[in-house]
Symmetry: C2
């Protein structure tokens, strides 16, 4: 008699390739009761514009025709008012585009997944700077792609993935000439450059740099696709992001999104369209002020506690600091000890497709209370000092 | 010199297989200014519980801690309070399950797409009753599956798809013994039965039948996956649906959803958790009363106008009536004439994977004002009478 099929026997190769992310398992580590978390890269919920969201929801719900439209099905492409505002936003970055160049997605995670579904087949190569955002590595591996560094020799890559501004996990940005070089590399390799830009609004120092897409002659002729999100600038719970690409590409992505989940949330999009001007001016400025203080608090504490234990570079924005610890051989084992001592982070290995990052870690200053950052860094320094050599 | 790659040269086989749905093109047909639409299967937005949604949003936003949680990232599996309420809802249908058996999705469209990604590879066979929901046909074709009728000879199908209650497009339901037979067929063929159940709350006549999943010994041992949605019972703009399946299957689907878009909207889920009891009792009863009147108005008008022109069966619920017109050879051409005459519908061909349905059409009574249904049916009858034989 034939053996009964197990569930995993029935799963497709795609489904089988998807395995839990390294970060996911870390949440269940035993830890001290008063643990200070530098782990998750979540925005601080006390900075969400609750009053303004509430007011906008009230306005939508107070007008029956508006309320009904916000609760009904909407176009797969997304809310036209929101796409028009995004055109203005992109124009201020030097990128001229029309609503036909924009698809609204469930956050930029879905935008990236759609682009990978569009371009990447099993066995393909994807170029990405390592260390890299684990959510992107998860998508690449789910689609059977091998990750290689930008400029690596080999077959034409299916795409180049880049977080050029305040990169997760390093916090660092590409300089202007490096941006131009990356766009030129994509053209020379005849491939697509995917610019993931979730942190761009959170600049604390220095002058704004043009996005990679700004180095293209026009969006219609571009091989750079731009991914944006409201998850950092307003709130992730709305699950709304966007992609800017040539209209022929958007048309195909729209069909894919229609087949996969019809559309992003209608009420969420209506709310964000109404909040747009506030979010990109007053609120963005508030966020920068609040997170800058945390970054500076973490930098001060690192200078005080870890100057002889670790190396880091100062990020001009975003949520993260990347530490390299010459005396540490396994940052994942370090995390287990740190959690017991009351501080957490994400080990560097989580940002690598294969080996690597064992002596590095990511600190997020976005969600820890500012008054506890120094204590958290002191605890970390103590655990590093106490580590076996 | 090598030819420059076009965009479509770069697209994956999956992306290339996705083509516009037949329904999509129909929206742009020239039509009379006062056209009565029996086309889209959308709920009537005047029946959305706007006041109750507004009140619930107010309550969420009034409590800072609750508001912040509703705007923050949430678990990929979905809001625990909402999953717990769904367990109670499923229990009332005779299905005992725990939150570990439930994943919240962006509507049931995403639930079906995830299941197909989980189980269906290009070249596979999917069994589905034809005529069939076009959104399901689009997913099957995108994944390279061939659709065959239930019970067809051939290799083991990757899954059987069924809308057992108030089917889109026929409006009809499987009888109790047919339900048991279908569950037994899936077991005999050693495959998975996917029960898509978006209209179950909208029963106007007759007694409730157990879902297909209710014929399984337990959810953990089931090969039936149940797909539900709030799109008909509350509002589609929230984009929240759910899937009930064995916990091992849910675990894998959670990882896939995490990779694809992290999670459904947090605020939407919080709002639906709060509305749950109202939605499934008072509001469900209101919806049934309102839509029953429309169904009856359409049935009366059909009896009056089309008794000699078409055949139909009376649906006990849902949004749709399915007409077969012996005198019509091409319902798509009929639609073009009908739109000019001021009435629209969806031609039967849209619900077929290949040929078929040319002499049939779907009428939706969900969104047309009740006072115009008789006029719309009269216009349709006139166009049918005027059609070349």
């Amino acid at each position: 008699m034939a053996r009964m099929l197990t569930w995993s026997d029935r799963f497709t190769p795609y489904a089988r390739r998807i395995i839990p992310s390294a970060i996911r398992g870390l949440a269940s580590l035993p830890r001290a009761a008063d643990t200070i978390s530098f782990g998750p890269g979540e925005p601080d919920p006390t900075l969400f514009p609750v009053d303004e969201v509430a007011e906008r929801l009230n306005r939508i719900m107070a007008e029956p025709a508006v309320a009904r439209a916000a609760l009904q099905y909407g176009p797969t492409e997304g809310d036209m008012a929101l796409r028009e505002r995004l055109c203005g936003y992109m124009a201020a970055k030097g990128v001229k585009c029309s609503p036909a160049n924009i698809l609204l997605t469930n956050g930029s995670q879905q935008a990236l997944d759609l682009v990978v579904e569009l371009l990447v087949q099993p066995g393909a190569t994807v170029m990405a700077q390592i260390p890299c955002y684990p959510g992107a590595l998860q998508i690449f591996s789910a689609h059977g792609a091998e990750v290689v560094p930008p400029g690596a020799q080999g077959p034409r890559p299916a795409l180049i993935y880049a977080m050029a501004t305040f990169c997760n996990p390093t916090g660092l940005s590409l300089a202007e000439d490096q941006r131009g070089d990356l766009v030129a590399l994509a053209r020379r390799l005849d491939t697509v450059l995917v610019e993931d830009d979730p942190y761009e609004v959170l600049r604390y120092d220095g002058t704004e740099l043009p996005p990679l897409l700004g180095f293209e002659r026009s969006v219609e002729e571009a091989r750079t696709f731009y991914l944006g999100t409201f998850s950092k600038s307003v709130a992730p719970g709305f699950r709304v992001g966007w992609i800017v690409a040539p209209s022929e590409v958007i048309e195909k992505l729209v069909l894919m999104k229609q087949s996969e989940d019809l559309q992003a949330g209608t009420l969420a999009q209506a709310c964000l369209a109404g909040l747009f001007d506030f979010a990109t001016t007053v609120h963005a400025s508030r966020l920068r002020d609040a997170y800058r203080i945390r970054r500076d608090a973490m930098l001060s504490a690192l200078d005080l506690e870890m100057r002889n234990l670790a190396h880091w570079k100062v990020p001009d924005g975003g949520f993260f600091l990347w530490l390299t610890l010459p005396g540490i051989k396994d940052a994942t084992a370090l995390l287990a000890r740190a959690a017991v001592a009351g501080v957490t982070f994400v080990p560097g290995a989580a940002f690598h497709a294969g080996a690597g990052g064992e002596n590095a870690l990511r600190l997020s200053f976005s969600a820890a209370p500012v008054g506890r950052i120094a204590e958290g860094v002191a605890r970390l320094a103590q655990v590093v000092r106490d580590s076996p050599v």
